[in-house]
């Protein structure tokens, strides 16, 4: 048994495909509102080379994959927009046409499995758009990242040497945050808001004021709730809303679904009462319109 164990232990590194590479394989993956964005790429190092762009196999005018070995790939699980350009969901090989030090062209080719020397010819299936190259602090290892995230996307960033290319990513939103004024009208007004415990006992009574501002249905407690401050009420079903919370800059950063659901009940077309339910479907508060 010991002998067998030793043999298998020796074989393990081969099983795992261990190999020391100049450009180790890396993956960047990010989910935004249910859309998964993944980049797989070999990551070359600068290795003391101070100038990488404009020379060697990266001379101006060359089509180059921002990685090494097999072409860098981008896979999106739903349609996205990159710098405003529609990218249908699938896997692509990623290329840059290195025009000059400040302007490159992003090329996404539908053939995702290409060696770095198999530069794709221009085709109708490709997505091509210009990108700006900014100067940045020196980055030793070629890196793709998403350092900025928003509820509707983020920034996809390439960095190597002193070159930095940032592209905005927009995902398909799962929810419409705004509500037309005509739809909002039925909910506007003040409600007596009673928080209840798990046994249904009222623990606190506040006022809950529903307004329509800037296209958003908004709710605010009086006295003010120190955590929520003001929330946007995002419609998830007829008369059901999930609260969305704002950061200090007034930008929505999270929708609390399924954490809290505001279930309105109507009388003669107008919202009359609210049941606030948590993710376990327990009632957390009951509210009734103040005439």
């Amino acid at each position: 048994m010991k002998k067998l164990f030793s043999v298998l232990a020796c074989a393990l590194p081969l099983t795992l495909g261990a190999q020391i590479r100049a450009s180790e394989i890396g993956t960047m993956s990010q989910i935004v509102d249910g859309t998964k964005i993944t980049m797989e790429y070999s990551r070359p190092r600068a290795r003391g080379r101070d100038t990488l762009f404009g020379k060697s196999d990266r001379t101006w005018g060359t089509t180059w994959t921002p990685g090494a070995n097999y072409a860098t790939t981008l896979q999106v699980s739903r349609d996205v927009k990159l710098d405003g350009h529609l990218i249908p969901k699938r896997k692509y090989s990623v290329w840059f046409v290195l025009k000059n030090a400040t302007e490159w062209t992003m090329v996404l080719d539908t053939n995702s499995h290409l060696f770095h020397e198999e530069r794709p010819d221009s085709s109708a299936q490709q997505v091509r758009f210009p990108v700006r190259v900014a100067s940045a602090p020196f980055t030793e290892v070629l890196t793709w990242s998403m350092p900025e995230l928003r509820i509707s996307g983020g920034d996809l960033v390439f960095q190597w040497e002193r070159a930095r290319v940032a592209m905005s990513v927009e995902v398909e939103p799962s929810l419409v945050m705004t509500l037309p004024a005509a739809d909002a009208a039925a909910y506007l007004g003040s409600y007596t808001y009673s928080e209840v415990d798990s046994k249904g006992k009222v623990t606190q009574v506040k006022k809950f004021i529903v307004t329509h501002e800037g296209g958003y249905l908004r709710g605010q407690w009086d006295p003010n709730d120190s955590y929520f401050q003001k929330v946007a009420l995002v419609r998830i079903a007829p008369d059901w809303f999930a609260p969305a919370v704002y950061d200090k800059n007034g930008v929505i950063y999270e929708v609390l679904r399924p954490d809290m659901t505001f279930e309105f009940t109507r009388k003669n077309g107008k919202a009359e009462s609210i049941l606030v339910r948590y993710d376990n479907d327990e009632i957390g508060a009951k509210a009734r319109r103040i005439p």
């Binding site: 164990f5 298998l8 232990a9 393990l12 099983t15 795992l16 989910i31 249910g34 998964k36 699980s77 739903r78 998830i236 079903a237 059901w240 999930a242 679904r257 399924p258 659901t261 948590y278 993710d279 376990n280 479907d281 327990e282």
Partner: protein, 137 residues
């Protein structure tokens, strides 16, 4: 110095490698919402945990009892808890059977409670699915 590469760790590593190599690619992309399952013909609540199985969770007994009464509904609902859909999970009903996650997971519990509540209010499976999708999807 004693090696930390024990037999147990070695077997665990082998297991992880084998699992990763046989894992279907679709599992890695399971974040995208899948359709609700079709309730299996003749499905019953016979495997839903009972009071005896829930001695450490008495507060959940009523919920499990409610789910047991409507297997044809709960078996037609996709679980949205994000557990990655393990191979033996067919529907939300699976979460309430054997070692299913509903014992611990508030999202599994919430979906079950919502299904039981809406069924009591007279809603049909399709309406319950819409409500579950709105809140948990």
């Amino acid at each position: 110095m004693r090696s930390h590469f024990t037999r147990r760790r070695f077997l665990a590593a082998c297991s992880a490698v084998i699992t990763a190599s046989v894992l279907p690619k679709s599992v890695a992309w399971a974040d995208v919402r899948t359709p609700h399952p079709k309730p299996r013909p003749g499905i019953t609540g016979a495997h839903v945990l009972t009071k005896g199985d829930l001695k450490d969770k008495p507060e959940l007994v009523a919920l499990y009892d409610g789910v047991r009464l409507i297997p044809q509904i709960v078996d037609g609902i996709r679980c949205n808890c994000g557990c990655g859909n393990p191979p033996d999970l067919y529907s939300l009903l699976s979460c309430y059977e054997k070692s299913g996650m509903a014992r611990e997971c508030v999202v599994c519990q919430g979906q079950g409670k919502l299904a039981v509540r809406l069924h009591k209010e007279g809603k049909i499976l399709e309406q319950i699915r819409v409500a579950i999708d709105a809140k948990f999807g």
